[in-house]
């Protein structure tokens, strides 16, 4: 059974600092997705990583995928308050349309 773990679960960081959120998964998968959820809102797709070594960047966020290590990272550069949200990674299951979601990382950026 595919399991997806994120850490940390909670992250409080100061504006301007850098940090990384980690997403580990338990079985082979070549595709991984990152979503953002603001409080009381829906999930918004951030990145789609489709192969080993894939790297995507959007503004202060950069996501990467290492399928051999079964690890994805979401790196935050020079955090700003607008990045405060919950971030989910999701892994595509084998031979299925389903995505298995991690528990989410709640990020709070303070001045």
């Amino acid at each position: 059974e595919l399991k997806v773990e994120q850490n940390p679960l909670f992250l409080s960081m100061q504006e301007g600092k850098n940090y990384t959120i980690y997403c580990n998964y338990s079985t082979t998968s070549d595709r991984l997705y990152w979503y953002r959820q603001d409080p009381g809102k829906s999930l918004e797709s951030l990145f789609v990583l489709l192969s080993n070594g894939a790297v995507k960047q959007e503004g202060r966020l950069m996501a990467s995928l290492d399928t051999k290590a079964r690890l994805s990272t979401l790196h935050i550069t020079a955090a700003v308050h607008d990045l405060s949200a919950t971030y989910f990674c999701a892994v595509e299951g084998y031979n299925t349309d389903k995505l298995i979601f991690g528990t989410g990382t709640r990020l709070q950026v303070f001045p």
Partner: protein
Amino acid sequence: DARVTQTPRHKVTEMGQEVTMRCQPILGHNTVFWYRQTMMQGLELLAYFRNRAPLDDSGMPKDRFSAEMPDATLATLKIQPSEPRDSAVYFCASGSSLKEQFFGPGTRLTVL
């Protein structure tokens, strides 16, 4: 601007009442997913369809929940009878062969 739409956005009902939630997937998408999100359990997959056929409903309490896709533009999730523990936000998402899922705004359900 292609989006998944859901109705109603909010629903307050009393225990024992029937609740029906509706979802219109993005035109051209062939997979539809129903999720439930709570603080305690996080995001749970309830059921999903491909080309309107139900493929997996193992996450759904079958004695009270049912999911259908009467046509390609409408998916429904019904709870009968509803219970307080069903209080949650229910999301619908749709996807295509590319597997990326696009989420609707959700239905916030409160069962008193």
